[in-house]
Amino acid sequence: MKSLEELARIREQAKQNLQLRESRDGIKIVVGMGTCGIAAGARETMNAILDELIKRNLSQVIVTQTGCVGLCEQEPIIDVTLPDQPKVTYGKVSPDKARQIIANHVVNGNIIGEWVIRSDKQ
């Protein structure tokens, strides 16, 4: 260890890997993982989301699952919540759609209106 800068570099890198345990208010994606969701392909959707996040190096995004919300017909369902914005729910999210949602909504902040099934009023 030669300098404080060197230490700071290691710290920043290590922090990224720990963000999951620290932040509670970042970008959040919730995947419906009830039996209906899994039957409709939620696992594949989840894998696509994780894969896309790795590719884009988006370690600050928190991905969790939830159970059936009652709209089994629309599964796989995912919720996307950006900081200080209302929750947006997408239905019938195929792996391919999931990748587009990350590119458009998570990265660029553009909600893909035609796939939205519900959006919280602000």
Binding site: M1, K2, S3, L4, L7, I10, R11, Q13, A14, K15, Q16, N17, L18, L20, R21, S23, R24, V30, V31, M33, G34, I38, M46, L50, L53, I54, N57, S59, I62, V63, T64, Q65, T66, G67
Partner: protein, 546 residues
């Protein structure tokens, strides 16, 4: 870069290990693999989380849900329900043991954690102790860097002095002052020793700090070395603390690899290295001069003082001996300043204290609370009260060599000076709680048996005194003692307290003396051949009929 959507932290402290956390972790890994989740879920081991009687404990992030008392058979349900489907398994969630128990408790939100203030345990249960990167992510080694690049050694000593930090090993000697003695002494070689020979029955805080956050000790020692001009450190640790030793050695290797130990640390001309020495489990080796004898390879017996180790320690060279918990406080003090540290605790005893709660209490385990908190807040707040609806009888503070305090002292602030006035000690932070089903004389007999066994035999007051104390107290429990025996006990205690060579003999009578004072009635009953709790077997001849 690997991306995980969930981290599962398995508490790997020794109490959880005894509860079977390895099997839980293995089953977790198996189940995660079976369901093909291994690329999404990271399973890792961490240090002690505190609620030791609830082990094995795991925390699932990002939700921060804590599961307790897990058996390998429960793991499948957690993986299938929580990790796969996102449903919290309520049946297994940590419950606070209180009258109105809350459930679904996250790590930070329970009362048990709410009353705590974590400086020393800042990383315990939060990071993987075997990863230097995770320690660095939580500001690790920044304090060392700050000292070496921006501060003069004298300034470092001054900050520690100003912080008012007092030794957490038991005696409460001001740490900054201790450092200044060694810093002032001229010598071509000085040493830093970390006293991890935690032998007080019921104390296991140092063990869990070392298991949970070994790098905080390495950093504290290196800063101490820079402050006093020492380039070599020893960690003297109990041989039984296998996991602590492993973690320490692993941490030292990592620190060497990154150049945080070795020469030219942070580009300065400061060099420092650390060696781990394990003891053979003698209680007396926790005494600093006996510890030094043992490091030198001799039999662990205390030396005559003065000279004190600060001036003449290992191989006659100036040596600073600091407790594990003391050293864990150093880096946060350097980073945040003395005034910040004084914001916790009381004026004379700033900061926090780590306690290990054992005995008749709902939440047994490891806690860190501000100095000056009352015994009542610890027992009925953090501790969750006494199980089985029984009453509080007494608390022994400071381990076996500390005094016993009855319920009149429940509102006593817990700090060095107040407890010393009450005839007890804050000591190492062991807190033994007893309910009213126990006989005080019988308890004292157990304490005396311990000292009889652990006396090293070097000085007469201790060698003979501990044996006689045990014999006399045993006589009381057998209903054969008289008032003269009590007088003899009092006299003998006074002789030991004033003339024994080291802390062992001086402190051995403490529990007896306090109990004689605060539980006079119960001792009196035994002299009359009657044990109020029915614990001691009294001669039949003493039973009064009618």
């Amino acid at each position: 870069m690997a991306f995980y959507r969930a981290h599962v932290l398995v508490c790997g402290g020794t109490p959880c290990e005894l509860g079977g956390c390895r099997a839980v972790k293995d089953t977790l890994l198996e189940e995660v693999n079976r369901l093909g989740l291994s690329s999404e879920i990271r399973v890792l081991e961490t240090g002690c989380l505190g609620p030791c009687d609830q082990g094995p404990v795991i925390i699932v992030y990002p939700e921060g849900i804590m599961y307790a008392r897990l058996q390998p058979g429960d793991v499948k349900e957690i993986v299938e329900q929580h990790l796969l489907k996102g449903r919290v398994v309520n049946r297994l969630v940590y419950h606070e043991k209180k009258e109105e128990a809350k459930s679904v408790v996250t790590f930070e939100s329970s009362d048990y954690f709410g009353l705590q203030e974590r400086i020393v345990l800042r990383n315990c249960g939060r990071i993987n102790p075997e990863s230097i990167e995770e320690y660095i992510a939580h500001d690790g080694y920044r304090a060392l860097g700050k000292c070496l690049t921006e501060m003069e050694p004298a300034a470092v000593v001054q900050v520690v002095k100003d912080s008012g930090l007092r030794g957490r090993g038991g005696a409460g000697f001001p740490t900054g002052l201790k450092w200044s003695f060694t810093a002032k002494t001229d010598s071509n070689q000085k040493y830093i020793v970390c006293n991890a020979d935690e032998g007080e029955p019921g104390t296991f805080k140092d063990r869990l700090i070392l298991e949970g956050d070994p790098h905080s000790i390495i950093e504290g020692m290196a800063i101490a070395g820079y402050a006093v001009g020492a380039n070599k450190g020893y960690i003297y640790i109990r041989g039984e603390y296998k996991l602590s030793i492993e973690r320490l050695q692993h941490a030292i290797r990592q620190a060497r690899e990154l150049g945080l130990l070795g020469t030219n640390i942070f580009g300065s001309d400061f060099a420092f290295d650390i060696e781990v020495r394990s003891g053979a489990g003698a209680y007396v080796c926790g005494e600093e001069t006996a510890l030094i004898e043992s490091i030198e390879g001799s039999r662990g017996e205390p030396r005559y003082k003065p000279p004190f180790p600060g001036v003449s320690g290992i191989w006659g060279k100036p040596t600073v001996v600091n407790n594990v918990e003391t050293l864990a406080n150093i880096a946060p003090i350097i980073l945040n300043g003395a005034a910040w540290f004084r914001g916790f605790g009381t004026e004379k005893c700033p900061g926090t204290k780590v306690f290990t709660m054992t005995g008749d209490i709902n939440n047994e385990g490891l806690i860190e609370v501000p100095m000056g908190i009352t015994l009542r807040q610890i027992v009925y707040g953090v501790g969750g009260g006494i199980p089985g609806g029984l009453g509080f009888k007494m608390a022994q503070t400071g381990g076996t060599s500390g005094g016993c305090l009855p319920k009149e002292f429940l509102d006593l602030p817990m700090d060095y000076d107040t407890l010393a006035e009450a005839g007890s000690a804050l000591g190492s932070g062991a807190l033994l709680i007893m309910d009213d089903s126990h006989c005080i004389v019988d308890i004292v007999r157990c304490f005396m048996k311990f000292f009889k066994h652990e006396s090293c035999g070097k000085c007469t007051p201790c060698r003979e005194g501990t044996t006689r104390l045990y014999e006399l107290v045993t006589k009381i429990t057998e209903g054969k003692a008289t008032n003269e025996d009590i007088a003899l006990l009092t006299e003998l205690s006074r002789v030991m307290q004033t003339s024994a060579l080291c802390g062992l003999g001086q402190a051995a009578p403490n529990p007896l003396v306090t109990c004689l004072k605060y539980f006079e009635e119960e001792f009196g009953a035994h002299l009359n051949g009657y044990c109020p709790t029915g614990v001691c077997t009294m001669p039949v001849a003493n039973v009064k009929v009618g």
